[in-house]
Symmetry: C2
Subunit: 308 residues, 2 copies
């Protein structure tokens, strides 16, 4: 162990992507005693992180080489690839033996490809999609669906412990974490669409929607998403906690995977069309429960409006 | 109060339809101290009921006039209409002031029509779809989604108390109970199809299905139906607890309602196609989790087989 890593010197981690999830994860790492570098293209996001005592960058700096652990919290596979192998890519800047923890939801085949390419550079890759919202990210209570080599897990452990309440270890190869996450996203995406189809159908029939919520959440028709998202509809509040376009992306990945594997997904396909319609109608950046507003627009159903 | 209803003489109820649900409901009524007449077209079902000490009939007998409460536990609206107004129909045999508790899942518009016709005969109608399986029916722990006049509720109360752990009182007119039940069935039907689409997609990718079940039931992709039905798939056991054809029927009602109300239901419509395919492929009377077997047949995915 070098002098710079004696017990009195904190270990260094980096977080790339300081959005609502990445920001909270970076704070969780700091709270666990790591020194944290944070990078984001948004100067506002970086300033917010610096004000919390972090070292901030609006590019992918050479300083990333100080980090033993790099956590990537970008939006998708394309951004992950750019972070690693783009013109400013960090694959050549990371120190040998460091680990890249990849959190973006993506096609498992792409996770396998990125992993193979990075491991060839002597750097570990942990396929580690996350679930849980911004609030749980800030508290270090995420759920992480992880897969990778034993060495990747070992190198990532201090960060996993700091960021997550629950880490599923899903196998010794990249791609398994991504595959589990996609199964979850298939279900989550269909359930939100079904919840919105159902609650607006209830509105169309003039049912008492608060009563519908009470009955369904206690019945066999319940889902985690119905219980979590329908309160937004009842409050008429579509402030984005998770946006429609997230599921345009994730159900799109499902379609691509299913087409490539010759596997029919009629439910997910129907759900994607509803998300696309909501996004096309201008609600792409609104809360995903906005699908209820789309059903209302299409049918003349009356949904609750937000109290002023 | 007439002599025949002194405290020492039990009140009389009748149950029409002694299938897995009706049989349990009849036993719950007996346990609560009511004298119970039971009718079913199946001699075996009637014999089973008689062996439990009930008075059984394979037709709709004139003795139904003894009952203050008639519970109808038939399959659908058409059978309910036959029970009431068919050639042997009981609408003209029931005693004035008695209540007809209608449990079949049906289009709310039909429930309103049947109710109006029966109430014109001086007989109360309680729109009272049930949920919960045969085990809860036998224990008197069903959930009932009920609507009807105050008089109908009052007359039905001893039976409701005997049969249900939870009675939702959803309004003072028939049709509301049916509408709430249909919202539940829309969600339940879509969630089973989504669960089967997801678990078989996981199998197609070679994931550890027990692990998928563990992760999903603890994640945002969970639903009551995923948690309840996927164990059948993991065990390879498609013994019918609830059959594919139940959802062919119920999602069919959703389609009819939605078409008549000009309300689009793309998720329910896609789900119905999957149930139809499973039924058409010969699995109509198997457990509704058989949709997973359909997905496997269509894609070459390997699902667990039943241990011998």
């Amino acid at each position: 162990m070098s002098v710079s890593h004696s017990v009195s010197t904190p270990r260094v981690a980096a977080v790339i992507g300081l959005g609502s999830m990445g920001f909270g994860m970076a704070l969780s790492l700091k709270r666990a005693g790591l020194e944290v570098l944070g990078a984001d293209v948004s100067p506002e996001a970086v300033a917010r992180f610096v004000s919390e005592g972090g070292r901030g960058f609006t590019n992918l700096p050479a300083e990333i080489g100080e980090a033993e652990i790099v956590v990537s919290v970008v939006v998708n596979a394309a951004q992950t690839e750019t972070v690693l192998f783009g013109p400013e890519g960090i694959a050549t800047k990371m120190r040998p033996g460091a680990v890249f923890i990849s959190s973006a939801t993506m096609d498992p085949a792409i996770a396998r490809r990125l992993s193979a390419r990075l491991e060839a550079n002597g750097i570990h890759y942990l396929d580690a999609p996350i679930s849980g919202g911004a609030a749980r990210a800030a508290k270090g209570e995420l759920t992480i669906m992880a897969s990778g080599t034993h060495a990747a897990f070992a190198a990532a452990r201090p960060a996993l412990d700091a960021m997550a309440a629950k880490v599923y270890e899903l196998g010794d190869a990249a791609g398994l974490g991504a595959a589990f996450k996609m199964i979850n996203q298939l279900l989550a995406g269909v359930h939100i669409a079904a919840a919105c189809e159902a609650i607006t159908f209830a509105a169309k029939q003039g049912l008492d929607l608060e009563k519908v919520y009470e009955v369904i959440t206690a019945s066999a028709g319940n889902s985690w998403m119905f219980e979590n998202r329908i309160p937004h509809v009842l409050a008429g509040d579509y402030t984005p906690l998770s946006a429609v376009d997230i599921f345009v992306k994730d159900l799109g990945i499902i379609q691509d995977m299913a087409r490539s594997e010759r596997y029919p997904v009629p439910l997910s396909a129907a759900a994607l069309q509803v998300y696309l319609a909501a996004s096309g109608a201008g609600m792409g950046r609104d809360d995903d429960s906005s699908l209820a507003r789309l059903y209302a627009q299409l049918s003349g159903a009356q949904l609750p409006e937000k109290a002023e």
